[in-house]
Amino acid sequence: MNAAHSAGARADRLLADLGLDAGMLEHFQGFLGALDDPPAVPVRVLTLCRARVAALHGLAPAAADVPALADQDLDALRRGALECFDAAERAALALVENLCFQPHAMSDAAVQDCAQAFGAEGTVGLMTAIAFADVDCRLRRTLPAAADQN
């Protein structure tokens, strides 16, 4: 993936705002970088999920994610119109709907649909990436410098 579009690159200012020491910063960047490459998950699916997480938080998508999505994608994500996406994309986005604010409402069927589309490895990677996209948004809402990333 293009480094300019990576979660690690997106998060640089955010992490700097946390005031982490150099070692912690390096490990945090390494982890966020790993989130950009979940096994068996297309980049588009990951980008859609991150943008939907942002929409659920009332935020614009991260600037680095916008060029990768069509205007109709962004509009559908803002409205939560998941029917505009294909079956695999809907399976991934269905996880997002619950994971941020109602994790216990996530159904077994939703997890199984995702596993059918992306396998266990893709589902694990996707859920981890979605969870930290949620963290990213919470920090963007909380930290002044991070808000500039919109």
Binding site: D21, H27, A120
Partner: protein
């Protein structure tokens, strides 16, 4: 609430614990392990405060882990 993951273990013969399920994504697992170790072993906030916060977070979010 069940704390059993809804995905199988990536480690044959092992139960589907958090680590064994995360092992489906080995790159993420390695990076998370390095970050988590650093988080617990060093830093300005004491381990007692970190653990207290972790437990409180688990209570609030009804996390079985």
């Amino acid at each position: 609430m069940s704390s059993t993951p809804r995905l199988p273990s990536a480690v044959p013969g092992e139960p589907p614990t958090f680590a064994n399920v995360l092992a489906h994504a080995p790159g993420m697992m390695a990076a998370f392990g390095a970050l988590y170790a650093r988080f617990w072993q060093q830093g300005r906030v004491s381990a007692v405060v970190k653990e207290t916060t972790r437990i409180r977070n688990a209570r609030i979010t009804d996390c079985g882990y």
